[in-house]
């Protein structure tokens, strides 16, 4: 049976479903933004979306290409300065969910958006070594390092592959649970950290004790072998492994229309 949706659509809709109507969500650009707006346009019409550009309670009709597109401000309840955004709104404890993407994620849900190391043969990874020996410079941390600790919890969405799912990230830009899985234990004043990771293959959650990411749900038609093959460490599966519900017609319709509208808008340009 051929599914009537792509793995990317499955990922976005599943990520959207993780959000609920009464949440305040600090939205990263790209996949998180796509998912958050699908949520808002389907089951969570009242969800509060906040972007680090200072736009609060924004309701874009098209997806922003940048974190500070005009659409975000025009459709927002209000727009505050960037220092206020990071001080009062994020650090001040008003964000339920920080929604992030990443370039690399490891088994303790640490995120790397800083650097891919030239020498990845070393058995024990050290950010400092990677940083001094870059193979590829990535854009950097942006808002993520503090979103991850100051939001009450963190959702992550990222495409599943051995390039992204590595046993240890080359550099911890943004902490999940630390290289030993225990960093949050020493910091009672920060949030719970990543509670769910949504990929194009499955849903993962941290083990309550070890904080290691474990597959809790496979997307329809995806096998355990596929996930094992796409993950850079010996991935574990929950004993209560379930199958993720498929996207419904409305979700797919909203997502496709949103992407169409966005593509049309971003190729146009003009005076206000």
């Amino acid at each position: 049976m051929t599914a009537n949706y792509t793995p990317a659509e499955m990922m976005t809709v599943t990520a959207a479903r993780a959000l609920s109507n009464n949440m305040t969500c600090f939205v990263g650009i790209g996949l998180p933004s796509e998912a958050a707006n699908v949520a808002r346009m389907t089951h969570a019409p009242d969800i509060t979306l906040i972007y680090e550009s200072g736009t609060i309670q924004t309701k874009p009709e098209i997806l922003p290409l940048s974190i500070g597109d005009g659409e975000l401000c025009e459709s927002a309840l209000t727009t505050v300065s960037v220092p206020e955004m990071f001080r009062y709104w994020l650090q001040g404890g008003h964000i339920d969910v920080g929604f992030l993407g990443t370039a690399q994620i490891d088994k303790y849900a640490n995120l790397n958006t800083t650097v891919i190391a030239a020498n990845d043969g070393a058995s024990t990874k050290q950010g400092k070594t990677s940083y001094a020996n870059p193979k590829v410079r990535l854009p950097g941390g942006g808002g993520a390092p503090e979103i991850s600790t100051n939001a009450k919890e963190v959702f992550i969405t990222v495409k599943h592959s051995t390039r992204t799912f590595v046993e240890q990230v080359d550099f911890v830009t943004t902490v999940g649970f630390g290289r030993d899985g225990k960093v949050r234990d020493q910091h009672p004043q920060i949030g719970r950290g990543p509670t769910v990771v949504i990929t194009d293959l499955c849903i993962l959650k941290p083990d309550p004790d070890t904080k290691e990411l474990v597959v809790v749900s496979l997307h329809p038609g995806v096998t355990e072998e596929q996930v094992i093959g796409a993950t850079g460490w010996p991935i574990k599966f929950s004993p209560e492994l379930t199958t993720t519900p498929s996207p419904n017609e409305q979700e797919l319709d909203v997502l496709r229309k949103l992407k169409d509208k966005t593509a049309r808008a971003h190729s146009a340009q003009g005076e206000v």
Binding site: P64, S81, P83, Q91, G143
Partner: protein
């Protein structure tokens, strides 16, 4: 008190080789016209501060103006990499580029502290991150009441702060509207400030709590219509997304970039 000047004069009177500059605007109101004039005037050895270097610093770095970059997210938003930055970092082209890398929260707080006249910013940040391992400017202080260790970074206090705004009135008071980013902070914390504006008006028509900078906080005002292009100016023009997309191919290739520099910047005058 703000002097109304041409952009060419404003830059030549304010920016010296070796200065620390912040050209800010968070996606919105990026002062591209001013950046291009800096390239045209061949300023060198600059320390460039910006949360998101964006195309404006990719261009300045590619043109050889920068010695050092202080930043927190160095991508082409929604498109990919900043290839001139990468080429400088990875291949020292056109020459070596030092970098000081922060998170957005750190930079935003550091601008706030600069505006507040403090030597450092204190915030709950960098917990579990390895950025402090590669950035000596990240320190900590202990709260004397709770014992909590908080992150601490030096305040940003540029020699020259440059922003673009929608409008100034004839007394040099400036209104910024929409996504206001860290622009007020940059002007208030800089030793010298330049504001480019879309237009000069008789009356700002600003609400009582709008983001307004009094003329006496600004050194130079230069009229630069479309001065934020290819970024945008709320109420004036939209973001030129195609420019951002097209930049990828230009920036990726040294020869194409140098040709762009020659044709679009060096052979053209300031507005």
């Amino acid at each position: 008190m703000a002097i109304f000047n041409s952009l060419q004069q404003a830059i030549s009177e304010s920016v010296n080789d070796g200065d620390t500059l912040a050209l800010e605007g968070f996606t919105h109101l990026i002062p591209f016209a001013a950046g291009h004039e800096i390239i045209r005037q061949k300023k060198r050895e600059l320390t460039l501060v910006r949360m998101t270097p964006d195309l404006i610093y990719d261009q300045l770095v590619g043109a050889g103006c920068a010695k050092k970059l202080i930043f927190s997210w160095g991508g082409n938003p929604g498109v990919g990499s900043l290839h001139r930055l990468r080429d400088a970092f990875q291949n020292d082209y056109p020459h070596a580029l030092e970098s000081v890398e922060h998170s957005h929260a750190a930079m935003a707080n550091a601008y706030e502290a600069g505006a507040a006249g403090l030597p450092m910013a204190v915030f709950r940040g960098y917990i579990g991150s390895e950025l402090p391992d590669v950035n000596d400017a990240i320190s900590s202080v202990k709260c004397p009441f709770t014992g909590e260790e908080l992150a601490c970074v030096p305040a940003i206090k540029p020699d020259v702060g440059i922003i673009h705004a929608q409008k100034a009135d004839r007394q040099g008071n400036v209104l910024i509207e929409g996504i206001v980013g860290v622009q007020k902070e940059v002007v208030l914390s800089s030793k010298c400030s330049i504001v480019t504006v879309e237009e000069i008006v008789d009356d700002l028509n600003a609400g009582p709590n709008s983001c307004v900078l009094p003329g006496w906080t600004i050194n130079h005002i230069a009229v630069a219509p479309k001065g934020a292009h290819p970024s945008y100016a709320h109420g004036y023009y939209q973001r030129d997304n195609q420019y951002y997309l097209d930049w990828d191919a230009i920036s990726r290739d040294r020869a194409r970039f140098n040709q762009w520099l020659e044709d679009e910047i060096l052979q053209t005058g300031a507005n």
